[in-house]
């Protein structure tokens, strides 16, 4: 019946995560104003990944779910990465 007696994540945790997200947003906007050439995109993606991880792990409870859920998510992400990466075998070497 109630397997829903699950972790109740406190409001405080969520607010702290939100603050971190705001800080990372400020960081990414700031970083974009400095010209780092091609590295800009990678840095932006890295920061975006950090923000997404916070949303996934905390807001979406992935940290508190069965490990199976995280494995499933990583599988989906890996497949997308492969689709993207393998397309570049073509695009980069034409």
């Amino acid at each position: 019946m109630s397997e829903q007696n699950h972790f109740v994540i406190g409001y405080g945790t969520f607010v702290r995560v939100w603050c971190a997200l705001l800080a990372l947003t400020v960081l990414t906007v700031g970083a974009s104003r400095i010209d780092l050439g091609a590295f800009n995109v990678w840095l932006a993606l890295f920061i975006a990944s950090a923000k997404s991880s916070l949303v996934l792990l905390f807001f979406m409870h992935l940290k508190y779910e069965k490990p199976l859920f995280a494995w499933m998510f990583l599988s989906a992400l890996s497949i997308l990465a492969i689709f993207l990466g393998f397309t570049f075998f073509d695009v980069l070497y034409r």
């Binding site: 109630s2 829903q4 947003t25 906007v29 807001f59 695009v91």
Partner: protein, 196 residues
């Protein structure tokens, strides 16, 4: 017949994966185009209003916060708090859409849209940028609308007492959908607005 809470969540996560891959296709196109038209992308990106983009980012991040709070609230049986958080989330969603409407409106007014005169005169790389911009933010906007409607429906369920502290998977799953909408924007924002 017992409700399978974990199963219901699993189903929702699997659906989210399909949404991830749907947008993934657009990000693949973006990556290829960025690789080929780097300079044009930078030039075109400058025409997007980074302040409005940042505002929308903050709006969605905060909406995710309120959505997450709604789940915690209902878990503790605090239906009123949950409702307030859900209303706030919908409010933020509307705010996002208003900003988007302003952004698109300005561009369209200047002919910078697929089929518009201004865009037709730009170089190929810039055309690619704006095409992808409209398709991606358009599809994302559609998901914001759907997410907002779903959350509205959940509000009705909470008020009817059908979603409560002992059975709230409907709320939790709807909020998961909302977070996905936020996640996609977290990538759209730097890729389109911060290419400088």
């Amino acid at each position: 017949m017992h409700k399978d809470y974990t199963g219901a969540k699993m189903g929702m996560w699997l659906f989210l994966f399909s949404e991830l891959l749907l947008f993934g296709g657009l990000f693949i196109l973006y990556a290829v185009s960025l690789n080929r038209h780097g300079a044009a992308f930078a030039a075109a990106g400058q025409e997007l209003d980074w302040m409005l983009g940042t505002l929308n980012t903050l709006v969605l991040l905060t909406s995710s916060l309120t959505a997450a709070l709604a789940v915690s609230a209902i878990q503790q049986g605090k239906a009123q708090m949950a409702l307030r958080c859900l209303w706030a989330t919908i409010g933020f969603a509307l705010g996002f859409l208003v900003v988007k409407y302003v952004e698109w409106g300005t561009k369209i007014h200047h002919g910078l849209y697929p089929g518009g005169a201004e865009l037709a005169g730009r170089e190929a790389g810039q055309m690619s940028f704006f095409n992808l911009y409209y398709v991606t933010t358009g599809l994302h906007g559609l998901h914001v609308i759907i997410g907002g409607l779903v959350l509205g429906w959940v509000i009705i369920k909470v008020r009817q007492g059908k979603v409560h502290g002992g059975d709230f998977v409907l709320l939790e799953n709807s909020v998961l959908y909302w977070h996905l909408v936020d996640l996609i924007w977290i990538f759209i924002f730097p890729l389109y607005y911060l290419v400088l």
